[in-house]
């Protein structure tokens, strides 16, 4: 771990100088990021490596935040950043910590990244189709250490992969816990389905029953439950605590956010504010239990629990975000879900979604889908979008599938902070959703 040798006590003492009020929150966030990638394309260098590191000092006082961020480490940088967030001259002087972190000396190696590109091409070929595609694969590694005035949790490491494929009819992206043949096969299946969907007829605009496959259900829940229950979203329309106890949907909707249950490389025990993460019930039998909160959002409330503060990088403050969503299995088999949506659509995947925090309206974009006829998945349809208001759509969930699987992992970019999000979900059926081409 990058920060194992760091002397944290002098840093905590320095922080205590600026956090001189009882409710002040002060912390140092240190990060080291390595991103290794391969890409194809006219402007893309064949291999890319980014190795960067730095820190940020944050002071939160009475709802206001001061943040000073620097590239690199070192005592002088630390002292200058500390002065920038301090609200007054310190009453006592401590020795400025050295904040020296050993350089990363590991060689740049990422064979799995290079090999994955070939695995995808081979897997697509197995489907006996061919189309032009440009593939980008990256390995992401991030070491994080939080040092507070009272708490110094263990450092955390995240290691995962991302893949982006540019196709003539659009792009496809995925975040992956590992690069192996199984991952390449799943990705190839999606690309081939997109290819076929691009040539399939479009649906006409109307309200229809739909069955969302696990990957599409994950994106739906990310927009309709996770973003809707983040305290910064809730605070736009009033007190976040007021949401607790609201009935949002069917009793089959049991939704949790559990960062400790994420895939191995992305699993966290503390968040980016150094707070322990928790298995957070967002919806219990369709009713709101615990909104997603960070330290600032939880404030002095005894009904909101922090532990979901995430930051895309040191230059941005923490924000309340989900990490790993879980929809608990329901009682329905897939044939039952399909039978309940006769004449509707089966939508296995969503490429992107967006929630308007003020109106509660959101949209999901699906790259392809299938008609449901006689209780079975039938012919393909082209790209479509699904839209509605959060409260209405959660209210028309009619069934949750019995088989959960890790699905729908991707990038979330709410508020300009780009973070990986993970999910484990079954399929789900909705009675009537506005579907448009």
């Amino acid at each position: 771990m990058s920060f194992a040798s760091l002397e944290t006590l002098p840093i905590a003492r320095s922080l205590a100088q600026i956090a001189d009020r009882e409710d002040d929150v002060a912390e140092v966030y240190l990060e080291r990021v390595e991103e290794v990638g391969v890409a194809e394309g006219r402007w893309s260098p064949g291999t890319t490596v980014r190795r960067e590191e730095g820190f940020a000092i944050r002071l939160v006082r009475e709802g206001e935040t001061w943040l000073a961020a620097r590239d690199g480490f070192g005592g002088e940088r630390f002292a200058a950043a500390l002065r920038q967030v301090a609200r007054a001259l310190p009453s006592a002087s401590y020795t400025i910590p050295s904040l020296e972190v050993p350089a990363l000396t590991e060689p740049v190696e990422a064979h799995e990244v290079i090999e994955f590109e070939a695995l995808i091409r081979a897997a697509v070929k197995q489907h006996l189709v061919a189309f032009p595609m440009r593939i980008e694969v990256r390995r992401h590694r991030r070491d994080v250490q939080i040092i507070g005035t009272k708490l110094v949790p263990e450092g955390e490491r995240e290691l995962y992969y991302s893949c982006r494929v540019r196709l003539p009819w659009g792009g496809y992206g995925a975040v992956l816990p590992a690069l192996d043949t199984a991952a390449a096969d799943r990705l190839a299946e999606s690309l081939v389905a997109m290819f076929r969907g691009s040539k399939a007829p479009r649906v006409t605009d109307r309200v229809r029953p739909v069955v969302l496959g696990p990957a599409a259900a994950a994106v739906f829940l990310h927009e309709a439950v996770a973003h809707a229950l983040e305290v910064d979203t809730l605070a736009l329309e009033g007190s976040p605590e007021a949401a607790i106890g609201l009935k949002l949907g069917s009793e089959e909707l049991n939704v949790l956010d559990d960062p400790a249950g994420a895939p191995a490389g992305a699993r966290r025990t503390t968040d980016d504010e150094g707070m322990p993460v928790l298995r957070r019930w967002l919806l219990f039998e369709g009713e709101v239990r615990q909104p997603i909160a960070d330290l600032l959002g939880a404030g002095a409330s005894d009904r909101l629990t922090p532990g979901a503060g995430r930051r895309a990088n040191r230059f941005l403050p923490p924000v309340p975000r989900s990490t790993h969503l879980e929809l608990l299995a329901g009682p329905h088999s897939m044939p039952e879900l399909l039978a309940s949506a006769e004449g509707g659509l089966f939508l296995p995947e969503a490429t992107r979604g967006a929630l308007d925090a003020h109106s509660g309206e959101f949209r999901l974009h699906m790259p392809y889908g299938y008609r449901i006829r006689s209780g079975r998945v039938d012919e393909a349809v082209g790209p479509l979008r699904l839209s509605g208001r959060v409260a209405e759509l959660l209210g028309v969930v009619t069934g949750v599938g019995a088989e959960c699987e890790p699905a729908g992992a991707g990038w979330c970019a709410k508020g300009g902070q780009r973070m990986p999000v993970w999910a484990t979900t079954p399929a789900m059926a909705l009675a009537g959703v506005e579907v448009g081409a």
Binding site: V36, V38, A39, E40, G41, R42, W43, S44, P45, G46, T47, T48, V49, R50, R51, E52, E53, G54, E62, G63, E64, T65, W66, L67, A68, A69, R70, D71, G72, R77, A80, A81, Q84, A103, L104, E106, P107, V108, A110, I114, D232, A235, L236, S239, L296, G297, G299, F315, L316, P317, H358, S359, E361
Partner: protein, 441 residues
């Protein structure tokens, strides 16, 4: 930036031993000060962020492939480098005529916290003076400067200094929301009181206006709407595909636009917010006319694209950060204003039509398919005067007809960032369709 030449020489020597003859070192450092005011939380929210960044990037390659490596610690010539693969790398030759531009306010101090808060509060005061129940949902003022040095094995040696500020505003009143992203050479360049009044007008239209009736007719497009149109035309204007799209948009006489329409990109635009003498590869910037009096001249092309794409190149490889390799793109892409025509004259010339003040979203543009639609709001015009506000409408139709339907170009060119920096004056257009099914406000 100290010892840049020595550092580069060591690096180039080490990489040449790996058979990477083409080597480029980019060093950049900058600082910024951002203040955000938001409405979330019972007490409201205030955030102040000061950042200091310093990083480097190396591109290297040869006929067998290329690599890009970047980081914050000093690059170690003898350290671990990724294997070069993929496309070969060829760097541009140096240009002697490059002389650095000196932006006016680059050395002036960045705004301080109290100054930023004062500006944002003055905006809110001006807004509420006009519309008492309006409130600011979010306001972000960012002021920054940077300097960068570029050296290459071809002999390129450039130094750039930049100063720019950005302002994002989002306001609400009675369920109507409006937002805008603006850019200026420094934080002092924003007239926040005028902005407050403008936003009050925009909110009032949303609250008091009615949806438009369908039909067509003359329409005046304010710069904010014209900028959205320009942004939607990017595939026509940038990159080798532009030729193919232009062929599809031309009419029988070979024109893509009316004789009033001239579109230009200029990386060295005098007084431009992002003006620089050279681009992210050290190639001199210059003015490139893409559409001249309605005739398609060429797309914006980098030096690599110019020969195969049959056009003249310009320095248009953009490098917003040391973290990404340079990519082609426009710097100041704008519709050339006509200094003889006042926007008010265009409005007063309309017997019956609309004046669209702003767009409600980015809209949908398909230049290759010659279709577009853009949700807008503004005023109904009758006998040259605004007769009633229109809260939402959708203008749509053929992109070719839109460009050829431009009957007047005003003298008021405004710039706004939408991924890239776009500029446009007020336009008088005829032949656009107006969709009666209004989009959600």
């Amino acid at each position: 930036m100290r010892d840049a030449e020595r550092r580069f020489a060591r690096l180039a020597e080490a990489l040449s031993r790996r058979r990477l003859a083409e080597v480029e070192l980019y060093l950049k450092r900058g600082r910024s000060h951002r203040v955000e005011l938001g409405a979330s939380g019972p007490r409201g929210r205030r955030l102040e962020v000061r950042t200091e960044e310093e990083g480097w990037a190396v591109r290297a390659g040869g006929p067998r492939g290329s690599l890009f490596s970047c980081g914050t610690r000093e690059p170690d010539p003898g350290g671990s480098w990724p294997a070069a693969r993929g496309e070969p790398l060829q760097l541009p030759a140096p240009h002697e005529e490059v002389s650095e531009l000196a932006p006016d306010q680059v050395d002036a101090p960045l705004m301080v916290e109290s100054e930023a808060i004062d500006r944002l509060q003055r905006f809110e005061t001006a807004l509420r003076r006009e519309l008492s129940d309006a409130r600011v949902l979010g306001a972000v003022l960012d002021d920054g400067r940077s300097e960068a040095r570029l050296l290459s094995s071809r002999g390129v040696d450039c130094f750039q200094r930049r100063r720019a500020a950005a302002l994002y505003i989002e306001v609400i009143a009675g369920g109507t929301r409006r937002s805008a992203q603006l850019a200026a050479p420094s934080a002092a360049g924003f007239d926040v009181e005028a902005l407050g009044r403008q936003f009050a007008t925009r909110l009032s239209i949303g609250r008091e206006g009615a949806p438009a009736e369908g039909g067509s007719g003359e329409m005046v497009l304010a710069p904010a709407v014209a900028i959205r149109l320009l942004a939607g035309l990017l595939p026509l204007l940038v990159g080798g595909d532009g030729w193919r799209i232009a062929r599809q948009l031309k009419n029988r006489r070979g024109w893509v636009g009316s004789d009033r329409l001239t579109i230009v990109d200029d990386g060295g635009l005098a007084g431009g917010i992002l003006a620089a003498a050279s681009d992210g590869e050290g190639v001199p910037t210059r003015e490139v006319v893409l559409i001249e009096a309605g005739e398609y001249r060429q797309p914006l092309l980098s030096w690599r694209e110019a020969a195969p794409a049959r056009g003249e190149s310009s320095g248009c490889m953009l490098r917003p950060s040391w973290r990404q390799p340079p990519e082609p793109g426009p710097t100041h892409l704008y519709i050339r204003p006509d200094s003889r025509i006042a926007p008010a004259d265009m409005i007063s010339s309309v017997a019956g039509g609309y004046y669209w003040l702003d767009a409600l979203s980015a809209g949908r543009f398909d230049p290759a398919g010659d279709r577009f639609e853009l949700p807008v709001y503004g005023f109904r015009l009758e006998r040259g005067k605004a007769s009633r506000p229109v809260s939402a409408a959708r203008i749509r139709g053929s992109i070719g007809k839109l460009l050829r339907g431009i009957r007047g170009v005003g003298r008021d060119c405004a710039f706004s960032p939408h991924g890239y920096l776009f500029g446009a004056p007020t336009l008088l257009v005829e032949g656009l369709e107006l969709d009666a099914t209004a989009p959600p406000g």
